[in-house]
Amino acid sequence: MSDAPLQKGRAIATRDPGALRFALIALTLAFLGLFLVAPLAVVATEVFREGLGAYLAAIADPAARSAILLTLTIAAIAVPINAAFGMCAAWAIAKFKFPGKSALITLIDLPFSVSPVVSGLVFVLVFGAQGLLGPWLAARHIQIIFAIPGMALATMFVTSPFVARELIPVMQQLGNADEEAALSLGASGWTAFRTVTLPNIRWALLAGVLLCNARAMGEFGAVSVVSGHIRGLTNTIPLQVEILYNEYNIGAAFALASLLALLALVTLGLKSALEWRVRAALSEQRG
């Protein structure tokens, strides 16, 4: 199909000079190498510097174990709620016309633009003892700040955009026809959603949940402000890593950090696979 001349056995794909392409690729690889590969390599080497025994002991330490448990608990709360929120928001944005729609889209991106520390601070200002709802909560003996509910709330806020952002473009592209067909055939709204919409968006949904989960488990700033750093009680893995590092317990810090690094790699790998699936499904629909 291409009538471009063959040069030294390689077809010219674009008209950019070879030197430019080489420079751009080299630059990208250097960037990735510095900010992605090097840190992971450091974690990997530090982790085993003191040997496998020390590594396992660091992870089995009670404070570490409760940190792992808390991280998992908060993720188990924040991720499903944000998945539901993301689906509702994406549905509303993709399928309806309503005033304030662009404002809603901007709002959804808000947690990305606000500093996580500020996000955490806002929760303290609202739910803390001196905060807006402080007296009301104290009267009912409800502890939100410096306790798990507050940490879950802060995590939910900072991870809220992920599912919505994955779903909105996909749902916009899929359009309404499938759902309308289901309704015309007699399915209720909920049944149509369950049997037609969900299967259509499952890969994008999974990708969004994956990102949401990774961020929920790795969140530091907002949770740090809200948690009170009570060792064994209100420390997540990231917070515990900071504490260990500040105590010069480098080996243990890296041991816990390696769990997060592992999570990051698994997330990246799964997400790539899912992106491929999403693209395949969308192009098949267009075809």
């Binding site: 309308e180 015309s184 007699g186």
Partner: protein
């Protein structure tokens, strides 16, 4: 329907439309894009909320009826087949989503689906997925799916618009055949006048939200009532 008007914001899609469809007839809504024909169809289906005016099925007021309650079969221009279900499951969908009390037994559903697949001449493709079918096959599945719920009226939105000329011709005649057999009240939207003239019992020419003329194909061509109709059909 009587006096049906519909606006989308500032755009008047339908302007005081009166239309009576005889039971068992094959009616074509013909007109250029933007004439309101698809809006009219979707209004009948309940896919767009009513503006002004009234709509009735067999004398029964349609306004309080939900999409599901109207028992209409809708066929979309781009098929709207459920891509993660087999052809068989697509056709069976309308029967499978019925509430438990109204749902027929599995064997009954299977019989009905297989009957319909035979009617649309796709009997051995029940296990395939929509992505494995050609455009013409997909549309035939969409037909079977719409027919499965025994609708009281069949609505077709430019059903052959996405197909190439040859397939369009074949399916057009096939539609006429099916209609002769089932005698199901059918309304179809098209911008292709050859299509409309060839198979419809009556043709309604639409323009800018109104029906300019309605009548048998021969009548509309021989005795156009407005300048638009004359120009459109020439």
């Amino acid at each position: 329907m009587r006096g049906v008007s519909k606006s989308f914001g500032a755009h008047r899609a339908l302007d005081s439309v009166d239309l009576a469809v005889a039971p068992g007839e094959l009616l074509a809504l013909l007109g250029p894009s933007g004439s309101g024909k698809t809006t009219l169809l979707r209004l009948i289906a309940g896919l767009e909320p009513m503006g002004a005016g009234s709509l009735a099925f067999d004398g029964e007021d349609a306004a309080p009826l939900s999409i599901q309650e109207r028992r209409i079969g809708f066929v979309f221009q781009h098929y709207a087949l459920f891509r993660h279900m087999t052809v068989f499951d697509n056709v069976a969908y309308g029967l499978n989503v019925r509430p438990r009390r109204a749902r027929p037994a599995r064997r009954e559903i299977a019989t009905r689906v297989n009957e319909l697949l035979e009617v649309v001449r796709l009997s051995d493709l029940g296990g395939r997925y929509p992505s494995q079918l050609s455009g013409g096959q997909k549309q035939r599945v969409a037909f079977a799916r719409a027919l499965a719920i025994e609708p009281r009226v069949l609505l077709l939105d430019e059903p052959f618009g996405a197909l190439d000329a040859r397939v369009r011709k074949d399916l057009r005649l096939w539609l006429r055949e099916i209609h002769q057999r089932t005698r199901l009240t059918t309304i179809f939207v098209t911008h292709d006048q050859v299509e409309a003239m060839e198979i419809a019992d009556r043709v309604a020419i639409m323009n800018a939200g109104r029906i300019e003329q309605i009548g048998a194909p021969k009548e509309v061509v021989d005795r156009p009532q407005t300048e638009f109709v004359r120009a459109f059909l020439s």
